[in-house]
């Protein structure tokens, strides 16, 4: 469905939007529906539609859009990235997420890793279509703890206990041991994991590192793919590490001050991405509802003639528009700071707001859309029930809305008046 974009897109941007939308409509969405209805075990088989679509996305180069051109990426503006993410989110939240988590280990390595890891891992990922990344954060005893720990009081973090994945230096290697929980997006289909691990012997998960673990390494085991309510088009599952050895240069972010900065800034990037996916999902639900309400006759007239439906549709439109505008603005600032200037001083509270707000409205819009569909909305006959399940999953995926809001709230309370990125919260950790 075409719509007026207040950004007044250039011809180049319109072309990009149309190309990604066509791909989302003709390839991504049909595959996502097929995957959604498949048992978890079948979704990860080599002939699964998941791999076919991911290979096509790689052929189109979508995985390279966050990598600077001088490192083999595709030159893009923040707005262009937002357009791609929104259109993919419109097609499928699962595939958009799969692309997002695929980028994390390799883009982090391109931005912060040395030449050796770039040659070993980033170059093949850029050039081949059979490398797939995932982001190992969530743990059985630490659902969203990693996202909030760095701004929390020391006592609270100590109560969180030891991390479930530990890393220990042994000569010129690191040894990884432990488990990530069943909610690691793309874990069952990934070849590499961008992994957060606590350094063995340190006090808490804040004292960690970020590394890349090839998932064909000795000692890595994958759990069964999980059967989830929503976002079933991106398989999720556990990762187990039994004394897995990685070379030192696969540690992209060493323990210390910059691990704190990295976690903060990486979450800025992912927040903008998830924000744009959420806008796409919300728009998809809104457009389905609008189309349906124009056609469906109730009480002798189309649904759109009913005042309550008109009001509902307007509210949905308002939410999609405000979320898109804010997500784009936050992305422009965040990408400039991290990807263009390389100063890594984006504003956590503003980036989190993009994710939190867009996630919330995505659920509200999907919920209202389903209501407009009535009982048909509950049936598998229409895609709206999938949007609703995906939007519900969004309230938990990539950090629960509550934890993200608490974390952003801390930043607001401590730093609202500051026009720069303050790292006082990280320094406090180093002092203790």
């Amino acid at each position: 469905m075409n719509f007026l974009d207040l950004e007044e897109l250039s011809e180049e941007e319109k072309l990009l939007k149309n190309e990604v939308h066509r791909f989302a409509q003709e390839v991504v969405r049909p595959a996502s529906i097929e995957l959604d209805r498949m048992p978890a075990e079948d979704r990860i088989k080599p002939d699964s539609p998941f791999f076919k679509v991911m290979k096509q996305m790689k052929k189109l180069g979508y995985h390279k859009i966050m990598v600077p051109p001088q490192k083999g990426g595709i030159a893009m503006t923040p707005l262009q990235r937002c357009i791609i993410f929104e259109e993919l989110g419109w097609g499928s939240l699962g595939f958009a997420t799969a692309l997002g988590v695929d980028m994390i280990p390799f883009t982090a390595a391109a931005l912060f890793g040395g030449d050796q890891v770039y040659q070993d891992l980033v170059v093949p990922w850029l050039e081949r279509d059979d490398y797939h990344g995932c982001w190992g954060v969530t743990e059985p005893e630490h659902g969203s703890d990693y996202l909030i720990a760095i701004r929390e009081e020391k006592e609270t973090v100590e109560r969180m206990g030891r991390g479930n994945v530990l890393a220990e230096k042994d000569g010129d290697e690191w040894v990884i041991t432990g488990q990530k929980s069943a909610w690691v997006s793309s874990a069952p289909v990934a070849t590499h994991c961008g992994l957060h691990a606590q350094v063995k012997g340190e006090k808490s998960i804040v004292n960690g590192l970020f590394c890349i673990v090839p998932l064909n390494s000795k000692g890595v085991r994958k759990g069964k793919p999980a059967e989830m309510l929503g976002m079933r088009d991106d398989p999720q599952g556990e990762l187990f590490f039994d004394c897995v050895r990685i070379p030192e240069h696969y540690v992209i972010v060493a323990p210390g001050f910059f691990y704190g900065v990295f976690c903060d800034q990486l979450l800025c990037l992912t927040s903008c991405g998830v924000g744009a996916f959420s806008v796409g999902l919300a728009r998809a639900a809104f457009e389905e509802a609008l189309k349906y309400a124009r056609e469906r006759i109730q009480g002798g007239v189309p649904l759109v003639k009913h005042k309550n439906i008109k009001l509902k549709l307007y509210e949905m439109f308002e939410k999609v528009e405000t979320a898109r505008t804010y997500v784009r603005k936050a992305t422009e600032y965040t990408h400039r700071k991290i990807l263009e200037l390389g100063t890594n001083d984006a504003s956590p509270r503003h980036a989190r707001a993009a994710q939190i707000y867009a996630k919330k409205i995505a659920f509200e819009v999907a919920n209202d859309a389903l209501q407009i569909f009535g009982a048909y909305g509950l049936s598998k006959e229409f895609i709206i029930e999938k949007f609703f399940r995906d939007a519900r999953a969004l309230q938990i995926e990539d950090g629960t809305v509550e934890v993200l809001s608490l974390e952003a709230g801390e930043d607001v309370i401590e730093n609202y008046e500051k026009d720069y990125y303050d790292v006082g919260h990280i320094n406090r950790w180093l002092e203790t």
Partner: protein, 205 residues
């Protein structure tokens, strides 16, 4: 023109680069703070210094140290290194500008890392409001209260000055250790970035 790192020529070139860069002047307009860069000599340094040109560069840096400060090296790894080369750090007995570097380079081949473990070169850089006011070699114990300290092995510094890796990558990856007021550093990352870009833009032999 390509220069040797480390060398007096490289120091002069860096000073010139920074102080003539309009972009640096702009982004570092509010920067106040000095850096003490400690380059610890590793096996790659000992190997590189077997090249007479590179050894000459290293000695040219040492020669910038006022003779009255030479005593600071007494009993330290740097003195041991020079002694292995047959250089006695006594202002009355040696003129660093007149050494036969070809002969000394040959002797470098016999120097083992464990014999000179801990030897380092300290570079002090005084940045002030968009200018690099001063760049000099600091002797042990000198400039210890610098606002920032950047510590790492020669091989890693070589990657940095040669443009093979940027400072942020090396620091984030733990290859270089940065100490100091990190809040101030993060507020001035644009200045730090531009400086390291300028440093990496000097062609190295």
């Amino acid at each position: 023109m390509a220069v040797v790192f480390p060398s007096k020529e490289w120091m002069d070139e860096l000073l010139k680069k920074v102080n003539s860069d309009e972009q640096y002047r702009k982004v570092a307009a509010n920067w106040e703070g000095d850096f003490l860069c400690t380059v610890t000599l590793d096996s790659e340094a000992l190997k590189d210094f077997q090249n007479p040109e590179k050894l000459a560069g290293f000695i040219s840096m040492l020669a910038t140290i006022p003779k009255e400060k030479w005593a600071s090296f007494k009993g330290r790894a740097e003195e041991r290194l020079l002694s292995k080369l047959g250089i006695e750090l006594d202002p009355k007995k040696v003129d660093l500008a007149k050494l036969n570097v070809n002969e000394l380079a040959k002797k470098m081949a016999g120097v083992k890392l464990e014999e000179v473990q801990g030897a380092s070169i300290n570079l002090w850089m005084d940045f002030w409001h968009g200018q690099l006011r001063n760049l000099e070699v600091a002797v042990p114990g000198e400039k210890g209260n610098a606002r920032f300290k950047l510590i790492g092995p020669y091989s890693v510094y070589k990657q940095l000055v040669g443009g093979k890796a940027d400072a942020i990558t090396l620091i984030v990856g733990g290859k270089l250790k940065l100490q100091g007021d990190m809040g101030y550093m993060m507020r001035n990352m644009a200045a730090v970035r531009r400086f390291t870009e300028l440093m990496a833009s000097i062609p190295i032999k």
